[in-house]
């Protein structure tokens, strides 16, 4: 058992921290305020190899392990949760299913531009009537010669409208229930595929969250990932991996809020003393730090298990459950310790508290994680 990061991980953290400090942090407030997707940051993320960290070099990636990728999402999210989720959704939800379940041709055609950052990816499972009940898919894909014709719509799709490549789920055989769901790759400029309403959100406001609309959208049969009927399984396994990414995002948000708070309580004086002199402040900080560290252990362990090709779904669920709830608790306490200033947009903890909430909801709500964990206990 060894808790030490490898030297390469330590050097990666140095890179991620420098990059985040200079290229991400200065824009975090503005992209939140204006709900603007961080296009310029994306260009730099691409240049420095952030968009394909865990994929092999032969597919355009950096050839890193899962932890290398997770550390990036964590560090970016310390300053800007939007940037964290852009990378996480792109990597875990679009690149990963193509890498893990796609054909060699699909990897060369789609994973290479995704991993090199030439193209941005998104993943579409959720529908208006299929949220946690993901099996209730209504989008259909009908085989027509060498093509599939897709009809239906998806909602709440991260990176939508900006992404070039989408991994989507659609029913190919309704009579089979979840075994009638299939996964497809759809390019953004495919006729019949349009972007619908963009959501106005509480947090991660720089990220683009939109509806996808398919109206007789024709895609070649080569874009089916795996076999027909395997879509639900692909989606669930993809989300298992994605949860480690979101857990890392939550961990980053929590750590970022704690760092801000530590600085603040040393500066802010009340009753003639800095807030940090009061035992209430100290105890709050101690609890925040301890929970963050516990979350970090869960997140890194889940990353380690996935990297080692060991079962990890249960640990990914625990990591996401605990890290996201820690993010919510820590950011709420951070706002409280900032007092009135924490409630204003003058300090970043207000944004961090809004950003934290989504980590308890997307890529499986906290309740879904509890279902997964309990099912593992009771099986």
């Amino acid at each position: 058992m060894n808790f030490n990061l490898l030297k390469e991980h330590q050097m990666l953290i140095k890179l991620y921290e420098e990059f985040t400090e200079k290229e991400v942090k200065p824009w975090a407030e503005e992209i939140d305020e204006t709900e603007t997707f961080p296009v310029n940051t994306l260009e730099k993320l691409k240049r420095y190899g952030f968009m394909g960290i865990p994929f092999p070099k032969k597919y355009g990636g950096a050839g890193g392990d899962i932890l290398s990728y997770i550390l990036a999402v964590e560090t970016l999210s310390k300053a800007c949760a939007t940037t964290g989720v852009v990378v996480s959704a792109h990597t875990s939800l679009c690149g990963a299913p193509i890498f893990e379940f796609g054909s060699e041709e699909q990897k060369l055609k789609y994973l290479v531009p995704l991993a090199s950052g030439e193209k941005l990816g998104a993943f579409a499972l959720t529908e208006a009537n299929a949220g946690t009940d993901a099996a209730a898919q209504q989008t259909v894909a009908v085989k027509d010669g060498d093509n599939y014709i897709i009809n239906g719509s998806k909602i709440f799709i991260t990176n939508a409208g900006i992404a070039d490549i989408y991994v989507i789920m659609a029913m190919t055989d309704k009579s089979q229930g979840t075994r009638g769901i299939s996964a497809f790759i759809v390019e953004a400029d495919t006729p019949g595929f349009t972007i619908g309403k963009k959501e106005a959100k509480m947090g991660i406001r720089g990220s683009s969250t939109c509806e996808l609309i398919f109206e007789n959208c024709i895609i070649p049969k080569e874009n089916l990932i795996g076999k027909e009927g395997k879509g639900f399984s692909i989606a669930m396994k993809t989300l298992d991996g994605g949860r480690i990414g979101i857990a890392a995002q939550a961990l980053g948000i929590a750590q970022g809020a704690l760092d801000e708070t530590v600085n603040y309580v040393k500066e802010r004086r009340q009753f003639g003393k800095p807030l940090s002199y009061f035992q209430n402040t100290q105890f709050q900080l101690a609890e925040m730090k301890t929970k963050i560290e516990a979350a970090r252990m869960l997140v890194y362990k889940a990353a380690y298990l996935k990297e080692s090709n060991l079962p990890y779904a249960n640990e990914a669920a625990m990591a996401k459950l605990y890290a996201s709830e820690t993010a919510m608790e820590v950011t709420t306490k951070a706002v409280q310790l900032h007092g009135g200033y924490g409630y204003t947009r003058e300090y970043p903890v207000e944004r961090m508290m809004r950003d934290a909430k989504i980590t308890e909801i997307y890529e499986g709500t906290s309740e879904v994680q509890k279902m997964v964990i309990a099912a593992n206990l009771l099986k």
Binding site: M11, L12, F19, R47, A62, G63, G64, S68, A72
Partner: protein, 260 residues
């Protein structure tokens, strides 16, 4: 084009504190960085590499921990890295350092040698120029801009009150200023390659030919007699006046001290 960049691993002086009793640097817990002037020199070399496919070798003399600075340089895009390390080199002043580095460079092929102007922990600005002298090379110090001109370089050498544009034929040595450029970040793939695929050549005393009388503490003519912390300045005086009055007070004070 073959370029050798001399770098030094230094404590990040923005995070260094002084021991108030001894007046020495407290180095524990202080992160190490590539000296900023050297990093810009490396960036200049990497830009030449982007432009004309130059081959960039980074060279440092230091303790084994200097490995991290070399890995960082590799992760930014340098091709090769050499660590000169030996107990015999410990305690070197600028003379011993430049003798050792020059001896190592003599074993290598080069068209251009780049060194940062000066290190933030020593501030001597002597090592680069001394290497040029040992190797009988033309040198241009305080370089803030570099352009290629055939097999020569056109360099902007900056002074406090102006600059020179100097055309110099290679091989030559230049010393670079931090202000020269904004150094790139490492890349993710670069970091992974730096640890997994690239190797750092470790050279010790037996790998270079150098007069042993010029090595380490014994070969260093510089002796530090005393180091001390500059006394704190007295608290200033505060005036609560309007800007007109403030300007008058400043001018009077400057006159009083014969500054104007």
């Amino acid at each position: 084009m073959k370029i050798i960049v001399c770098i030094k691993q230094v404590p990040d002086t923005t995070e260094v504190r002084l021991d108030p009793k001894t007046g020495t640097l407290i180095r524990e817990g202080v992160p190490s960085i590539i000296n900023p002037d050297d990093k810009s020199g490396l960036e200049a070399a990497l830009r030449l590499k982007d432009e004309i496919n130059a081959e960039v070798t980074v060279l440092t003399m230091g303790p084994p921990q200097a490995d991290a600075a070399l890995r960082e340089a590799l992760a930014m895009g340098a091709d090769h890295a050499i660590l000169l390390t030996d107990r015999a080199f410990a305690g070197s002043d600028t003379w011993a350092t430049s003798c050792t580095l020059a001896a190592a460079i003599q074993k290598l092929e080069y068209d251009l040698i780049i060194a940062g102007r000066q290190a933030i922990d020593g501030d001597t600005a002597q090592v680069g120029p001394q290497i040029a002298e040992h190797l009988n090379l033309p040198q241009v110090s305080y370089v803030e801009d570099l352009k290629r001109d055939g097999d020569a370089l056109i360099l902007k050498r900056v002074f406090e009150d102006g600059y020179h544009l100097i055309r110099v034929k290679t091989p030559c040595l230049i010393t670079t200023l931090k202000e020269m450029n904004e150094a790139r970040y490492m890349s993710v793939g670069g970091v992974l390659d730096a640890y997994r695929e690239k190797e750092i050549e470790v050279w010790s005393l037996k790998d270079i030919e150098v007069d042993h009388g010029n090595l380490g503490l014994t070969g260093s003519p510089t002796k530090v007699k005393k180091s001390f912390t500059k006394g704190a300045k007295t608290a200033g005086k505060l005036y609560d006046v309007d800007s007109k009055e403030a300007a008058k007070i400043i001018i009077d004070k400057l006159r009083e001290k014969y500054i104007i």
